[in-house]
Symmetry: C2
Subunit: 333 residues, 2 copies
DNA sequence: TGCAAGAGTGAAAACGCTTTCACATCAAAG
DNA sequence: CTTTGATGTGAAAGCGTTTTCACTCTTGCA
């Protein structure tokens, strides 16, 4: 025995008005006589009428739902962004369809398509490897798409980020200032624009400014996991590094613990600076120095930007750069 | 100049068949002559036709979308569950609308309502404080709802969990076996069923089994944050505790670091065992001993259960209990 | 040769809303 | 009193699918 759903038509009949009028009061349209409005509201209340958002979406061509593509919710960096996104979305009455992509191009394209099929009003994309195919999909989307905490070298989409090049350069300079000359650059895949086109650039810049020669033996390309970091100690040691810039906090924690476990003292014998300033940096011992990013805000601002785009408001700047900082904790001198 | 969307009608016209037939081929209905199917598929391809999921949802009364209510994505425990949920959901062609509730009753009710308005096919709820009002909303929902990693004392909804009482009892027994008599019970709000009706019960049981008197001075009700744990050291000390069972990993990390920072040696002078076995337990030093839970699986199984419910398959057991374990690391002797 | 039973297809009615357009009403202005 | 411009309301046409039902062909079989 299915519960019978009450529709706008039922309300109209009971209130002795037209569907149009019911629709008006539901949507807060001011062109309704107060007496009528009251009458309709009473019936709505009595019948416990709840508008069907799907029907609404079909008729109005707006779903008040946005799609969010995230590499992995389980990653503290991204989940912080996601929280910022959701909070602002909720503030603007949007809901979020969240899907994990594992930064896998095929999955990203597929997910993007189902999001578009579901007629989301907008999309927020996180992930640093924007393939040509993906870019093509972006282009064909009628819903606006903004990148959050992610970069695409082609800069074809609106995005919100920090200035990665400058941030990394500053972090590395800090290490250099402490007397380190052999500084490792540890990050995830170099196929990712953020590593290849931004972080590495910052790293090289700092080196160059200090007159230190770039040595690709000091560049460690691995994946963003604790384990990967932990097992990096021998290689780091073999390369003669005395400090490392690391592109991810979990990875950095691994690097640091791997070092410590191998009897290398951090920061006295080896300094580590990381990138994302997630909670993690405070939990490990020694606490990790890090580039600071307004994670929550990156998500929040991205979502805010998206709302403007969805409303066809003109936005002065398509790519917004938020301020970063450097937080000295105990993994650097 | 809006891009003109191509509809099923356009395809039908171009392929010289009816909409019904196009619908059939799109949905893989076998009652279509191969030749016809081929012809239609060609047109679909040529026009780049993409079915509108909203229209589909309206007509079929299925949205292939489920709602997920999560206290906070940023929390490692819950985000692990969320990942399990999403993976299985994707496997069954569902998408997920994710909303953060902060375990705030009012927000939960509101979110639940918007999810139902959006006609989700099912809902997964995480949160340990099921108010009467919430229970009422659950009841009125036509979409099935399952609790994941969350308990409701009334057991009115399907759920997937571990046996919290037994797990906590075992953890505490372990502490007792190490010679501790004054064992602190540290958790979040006692209003939450999981703390009040499960964990505390397990704690008391272990005490009773060992013939140790229960002392509510040793029960610390706080919130699930690192900071809260960190500042607990003086109180713990004042109560004369020599060990603690903690209900959340981040909180436990705080407790442990607070202790360490105050010069209390873990585990020699104070043992700590935590509850959720998130990655965190491995990142801090000493590594934390913990009850182990199959986090990902709890989410995955909950989602799987939900698919069955949505298909009206009969399920033998409405509440599934997954196995737990105890992982000894370095925060206990 | 005739007939029952599929197989394949199309017409059209939902699905539950928004929105356009036309119309009616009414108060203020001439 | 008329005219006018707002204000309030309803009829009905979408929105893009799925699904039911009826109908036409084919086949296989008696």
């Amino acid at each position: 025995m299915e519960k019978q759903t009450v529709t706008i038509y039922d309300v109209a009949r009971e209130a002795a008005v037209s569907m149009a009028t019911v629709s008006r009061v539901v949507n807060g349209n001011p062109n309704v006589k107060p007496a009528t409005r009251k009458k309709v509201l009473e019936v709505i209340d009595r019948l416990d009428y709840r508008p069907n958002a799907v029907a609404r979406g079909l008729a109005s061509k707006k779903t008040t739902t946005i799609g969010v593509i995230i590499p992995d919710v389980t990653n503290a960096y991204f989940s912080s962004l996601a929280r910022g996104i959701d909070d602002i979305a909720m503030m603007y009455k949007y809901n979020i369809i969240l899907t994990n992509s594992d930064e896998n191009g095929g999955k990203e394209v597929q997910v993007l398509n189902t999001l578009m099929a579901k007629q989301v009003d907008g999309i927020i994309f996180m992930g640093n490897q924007v393939t040509d195919e993906l870019r093509e999909e972006f282009r064909r989307s009628k819903a606006p798409i903004v990148l959050a905490g992610s970069v695409d070298a082609e800069k074809t989409q609106p995005s919100v980020n920090i200035d990665y090049v400058a941030a990394v350069a500053e972090a590395v300079k800090n290490l250099i200032d402490h007397g380190n000359e052999k500084i490792a650059f540890v990050s995830g895949s170099m196929d990712q624009a953020i590593n290849h086109d931004y972080r590495l650039k910052g790293y090289k810049k700092a080196l160059k400014d200090a007159g230190i020669a770039y040595d690709d033996k000091l560049v460690f390309e691995t994946d963003y996991t604790y384990k990967a970091g932990q097992s990096l100690e021998p290689a780091l040691n073999a390369a003669g590094a005395t400090a490392a810039f690391v592109g991810d906090d979990e990875l950095a924690a691994g690097v640091m613990n791997g070092l410590t476990d191998a009897g290398v003292a951090v920061p006295d014998e080896f300094e580590v600076i990381t990138s994302n300033d997630t909670k993690l940096t405070e939990l490990v011992r020694p606490k990790m120095s890090s580039i600071t990013q307004p994670l929550y805000d990156i998500g929040a601002v991205a979502m805010r930007l998206l709302t403007k785009l969805m409303n066809n408001e003109t936005v002065d700047e398509n790519t917004v750069i938020l301020p970063y900082g450097l937080m000295k904790r105990s993994s650097t001198k």
